[in-house]
Symmetry: C2
Subunit: 369 residues, 2 copies
């Protein structure tokens, strides 16, 4: 728990200390609502905001000065609030919100993404490697919303299932499955909406870098904890029941899966990594490939008892997190004879660019013959 709390605390956006001339090549963020010109981003990673609230006394954006109050907007002669971050942001996706006269609201220009137990505004700082999650003219898989029966929680629960291109054209082919979890305060929409997991897969498959597999994403905070109450009251067991006893049987009976342990992986980001660790260790007959993305590590002691059942341990984080932790854990696991791989996303923190890249690195390692 302690390690995870520390990772969360480090997840703010950092930027260069030196002064820099701001290039006036701002364009609308790719995460904007249709027809919205603001927020904007420039080629250096600065973000510029524009909020209309002529009678407001104070408008702030939560981004741009991690921990120091964000970016304060100034009212211009037309009564419109404008402001630019004090420095470049990290590449990739960031959640944010606006504070107007003491209240928390979303930016009307941006689309919303579920994080921090609320639908937050999102902005995208163009990344040098954004091509790997771009929408391209390649065959696209489908992302299906399913509602599966969950007797343990007495409702139908939602999951999203990515089926790769070719799923329809090859009606007798069966596929391995990756169960992929979001982080704290996010939900089952995160890996598609913020993570572009479907586009990452479509592009990897088009480039013949992986054998196609299915991805299943569902909500991992089964026993919801109240915002601000921390993890004290959080328990993995209710989610373990939903995942192992309810969702997996549903997926295996409604999609053409290879329904055995060697062809089933589990991975998760941040809190989803903690869940992955707990659930994989408790269910060695269910999963064979494990991935923790900014979500801790396995020690050799954790996994020794099930050594012959584990085909891959993938550990990753951003270079602005604690890369030595995942590197050293992977080294120790390799020395103990495990197929362990570590990956560090250069120049990123506890944010989605780290996890997009982690999926890109992990996917080709899964379900190797």
């Amino acid at each position: 728990m302690k390690q995870f709390a520390l990772l969360l605390a480090m997840s703010g956006s950092l930027f260069l200390a030196q002064a820099q001339e701001i290039k006036e090549d701002f364009v609308p963020s790719s995460k904007n609502q249709p027809q919205q010109e603001y927020p904007q981003v420039n080629s250096q990673g600065y973000a510029r905001f524009r909020i209309v609230a002529p009678a407001a006394d104070s408008v702030r954006v939560s981004l741009g000065l991690g921990g120091q109050g964000g970016t304060k907007l100034e009212k211009n002669a037309e009564g419109v609030w404008m402001g630019t971050t004090a420095g470049p942001m990290d590449e990739g996706f960031h959640y944010y919100h606006i504070n107007i006269d003491g209240g928390t609201f979303n930016d009307p220009g941006a689309k919303n993404y579920y994080g921090s137990v609320r639908w937050e505004s999102g902005i995208e700082i163009p990344a040098h490697d954004q091509d790997f999650y771009a929408l391209k003219d390649v065959p696209h898989g489908h992302v299906s919303q399913v509602l599966f029966p969950s007797p343990s929680t007495e409702t139908s629960r939602r999951a999203f299932v990515y089926t790769p291109p070719g799923y329809y054209a090859n009606p007798s082919k069966r596929y391995p499955v990756l169960y992929l979890q979001h982080g704290w305060g996010e939900d089952e929409t995160a890996w598609s909406n913020q993570g572009h997991a479907n586009l990452i897969m479509d592009n990897l498959i088009a480039d013949k870098k992986i054998e196609p597999f299915i991805i299943v994403m569902t909500y991992g905070m089964t026993n919801e904890i109240k915002f601000g109450s921390g993890f004290r009251n959080f328990s993995f067991e209710p989610f373990e029941t939903v995942l192992v006893k309810e969702l997996i049987p549903y997926v295996d009976s409604h999609f053409r899966t290879i329904a055995d342990q060697p062809h089933r992986a589990m991975a998760g980001l941040s809190m989803g990594g903690m869940e992955t660790k707990n659930i994989t260790l408790a269910n060695p007959e269910v999963f064979s490939h494990y991935g923790l993305l900014s979500g801790g590590t396995y020690s050799v002691e954790d996994v020794t008892a099930n050594k012959d059942k584990i085909k891959l341990i993938f550990l990753s984080c951003g270079s602005k997190e604690r890369p030595d932790g995942v590197k050293n854990a992977a080294i120790a696991l390799k020395e103990a004879g495990f197929n362990a791989v570590s990956y560090v996303s250069e120049g990123t923190a506890h944010e989605f660019q780290t996890w997009r890249r982690s999926l890109l690195e992990m996917a080709p390692l899964l379900f190797k013959k």
Copy 2:
């Protein structure tokens, strides 16, 4: 165009004129974000809002006094803005937003729904007949996001495809298809998110009231028009090309459809009805069942030339719209020998409760042997 503009103008929320004691049985709206207590609704249809913005001078909600400035909130002793609509709202779903010190924002308590060319806040006034779109313990179909190639617009476009329960279990069965369009300012998410089309179908199928069919929903404002510029620059042809030349072939090659005119329907709400009328009349070899939901009517002259190809004409609207228009049109069509049906949703206006009920009424009439 004129008729449609008039329908839009009538689409505000109306409520009872007489004074009424407000029952203090308010509960959170079913469209709230997780863990959010406000907005609330009571058993009479009143809505109550709570906005935190202690330093704001003015907070208004766009709902509650259609056309007269909405509901003005008052700041209480704790610095929190509260207010209740001056009367009961119509049953069902309503879009709304908040005006804070002259700016337009969403209610942080509510989930967002795409309408009016922006992601708006949504609230649900419990309806006496809400059971037909409730999430129940019945088999659920899937709603799949597909990205289909669109050479005419030089991109991959998004559609959602509802496949009924049993689709996987019966791998040789083929299904008829309804192409179902949203209204102006909405998008391909509307029929699932606001309309609960998937739940309406799941419940109808569980009750054995219909033979299962597929529903396809895509974005109909292919040549996007700028907000506020009206319909002057809107043309149906680009969407017709996407739908008929690109989406239908994709669906027929990626889902188990019965790919012929007798098993293909098109319907739409509001502007989607106008599109349906234009596209069905221009493509009599493509669609056999037509539905206009608060979206105009067909005259006998419109359809006489293709009388033998048309299996159903369904016309509907809310009782607070212009019900005589759809009733009289259906009577004239019936007299001319068409299978025409009109439906009027009692007590609703140009809003989603009208269209949920219209789908409920129309679905059992489609694809009858």
